[in-house]
């Protein structure tokens, strides 16, 4: 990690503002930044989406290739999620193999996709035990201004929602067909700033945060994944509160994931 030191007084200021229900960028505690989704940004991918949340930008690309199913799930396709926190996107990221931060982002996104059964993996099976589609979801962070998990999730699910299975190109079917989503999971991340739980933290807010909590929900109102991160702690009531808020914001994000105006 490149040493980046943030001034203590900046952190204190963020906490002081939070105590008055205010944030550095003028948002309220429950206010999400502007969200923009550009589906189909990359034509070399079978599905893709560029997501901007404020100044944060993540590009997701989906690739589908024929491969072998896992022996214990001969009738199911294979899903692989990978996040690249490349040094282009932030002074705090270094070149080299994925750091724990990148692995956490990819795993949290992967869990939500799996648990929500966003994709019917059995539909990806071509010949049981022999041939299946391998679905790669690659998450490429371009601009890290905070809340990478939500941005990566939204980019990933939007790329999946717009993905086309290249069946014709690989000689598996007569024509290509849409991958189709059964469910649309999205994540909502909150950080604790003093007694306040603020949604969609900026980079500065993450540095000041006393704990981070991510809630993944789907359109049926289920909670499908959670992740507590950073140093800090939450009460069960805190969790209940952010779940309630995550469901409300999740519905807006789901519209964006489909390519609509949130």
């Amino acid at each position: 990690m490149t040493p980046e030191v943030t001034a203590e007084i900046r952190t204190s200021h963020i906490l002081d503002l939070a105590a008055e229900g205010k944030r550095l960028d003028g948002r309220g505690a429950d206010e999400y930044r502007h969200v923009e989704v550009v589906p189909g940004f990359v034509t070399t991918a079978d599905g893709s989406a560029l997501v901007r949340i404020g100044d944060t930008a993540v590009l997701a690309g989906v690739k589908l290739e024929p491969g072998k199913p896992f022996p214990d799930t001969p009738n199911a396709g294979v899903l692989t999620t990978n996040a690249e926190l490349i040094p282009l996107s932030s002074p705090v990221f270094e070149p080299g193999p994925p750091q724990p931060g990148a692995i956490e982002v990819s795993r949290v996104v992967d869990r939500a996709i799996r648990a929500a059964e966003a994709i019917d993996l059995t539909r990806l099976c071509v010949t049981p035990g022999e041939k299946t589609w391998v679905c790669y979801v690659d998450l490429h962070v371009l601009d890290h201004s905070g809340n990478l998990i939500d941005a990566a999730m939204l980019a990933g699910v939007s790329a999946l929602a717009h993905a086309i299975v290249p069946a014709k190109r690989f000689g598996i079917a007569e024509s290509d067909y849409p991958l189709d989503l059964q469910h649309v999971p999205v994540e909502c991340t909150f950080v604790r700033l003093g007694d306040t739980l603020v949604i969609d933290p900026t980079f500065d807010e993450e540095l000041a945060a006393q704990g981070r909590l991510t809630i993944a929900t789907d359109e049926t109102g289920r909670v499908v994944a959670m992740q507590k991160g950073l140093v800090g702690a939450f009460s069960p009531d805190d969790v209940r509160e952010v779940v309630r808020r995550a469901l409300i914001h999740g519905d807006r994000l789901r519209i964006a994931a489909r390519g609509g105006k949130p």
Binding site: V5, A7, E8, K22
Partner: protein, 286 residues
């Protein structure tokens, strides 16, 4: 501001003006040939075969006998005597390392402070993540940036916060004769100290600091445009709440936090050295 008004406005009596007929300075790019007019290549330029070219993206601002290009972007490049705001990144036996947004970290030696520091006890006075206002003392050819805390208005910063703007925007943040700073302090009641390195310390009530930060953000975003002072002022007026001190009231009620260890004047000594005529796009009536 219309052009007519601008031309009617005296050009502040600078002999080194590089103004075009429009009154705007010329943007040059790396590799662009600059008519030398008998001047020598200065900062931001280079000479090959009798011709002078820009080496950086910036505004052409000849300063006889030198041609120079003033940067519009990039990291802070230190100059001796600049007052800068930094954050401690490391405390060693006899010195601290400061991040001042420059290419290198700047060592602050314990003898360059007003304190009686024993060797190995630097952390008793300044710890990592503390912020300070210091002056660039010397630069050596190895790129080492020597800074000192000895001098008026220098010291550890307590309370408040730091807002980062592009170093190229600092002349606009200060404004002509400190007018922009004065506008911000008058309307918000916040204390403001400006570092030449693009870091601005503000202190006051949370609301005052929020509004001052927003004013700085406006300057950062719109510094190339005319009518900036008016825009900043109208933002500050529109956001002043009823229980706030209105415009024109000298605001000395400040920090709800502790006062600075060293009193940092609202407009630091750095500001008087800044001449907005020589740096930054002269497209606003400050």
């Amino acid at each position: 501001m219309s052009h007519g008004q601008r031309t009617g406005h005296p050009r502040r009596g600078r002999e080194d003006s590089s103004s075009h007929p429009s009154g705007d300075r010329v943007l040059v790019l790396p590799g662009q040939e600059i008519p030398s007019q008998g001047l020598k290549p200065g900062p931001g330029t280079y000479r090959v075969g009798g011709k002078v070219y820009a080496s950086i993206l910036g505004l052409l601002a000849p300063k006889p006998p030198f041609l120079q290009v003033i940067p519009l972007s990039g990291r802070y490049i230190p100059k001796p005597e600049d007052v800068v705001i930094g954050t401690v990144t490391d405390a060693q036996g006899t010195f601290w390392l400061l991040d001042i947004g420059a290419p290198r970290w700047a060592p602050l030696h314990m003898t360059g402070t007003p304190w009686d520091v024993e060797i190995g006890e630097t952390e008793k006075f300044l710890r990592v993540r503390d912020s300070v206002i210091v002056r660039v003392e010397n630069l050596d050819p190895t790129g080492r940036i020597g800074v000192t805390m000895l001098g008026d208005g220098l010291g550890k910063l307590e309370g408040g916060t730091i807002v980062n703007v592009s170093p190229a925007r600092i002349p606009r943040v200060v404004g002509r004769g400190g007018s922009m700073i004065e506008t911000i302090t008058r309307h918000t009641g916040a204390q403001v100290a400006v570092g030449q390195n693009g870091r601005v310390w503000i202190n006051g009530t949370p609301d005052a600091m929020l509004r001052a930060s927003e004013a700085l953000r406006l300057i950062e975003e719109q510094g190339q445009r005319r009518g900036l002072t008016e825009r900043v002022e109208s933002y500050l007026i529109s956001t002043s709440s009823s229980n706030d001190q209105g415009p024109g009231v000298a605001p000395h009620e400040s920090a709800h936090r502790d006062a600075p260890a060293h009193s940092v004047p609202p407009v630091g000594p750095a500001d008087e050295r800044i001449d907005p005529d020589t740096v930054g796009p002269a497209t606003d009536e400050y």
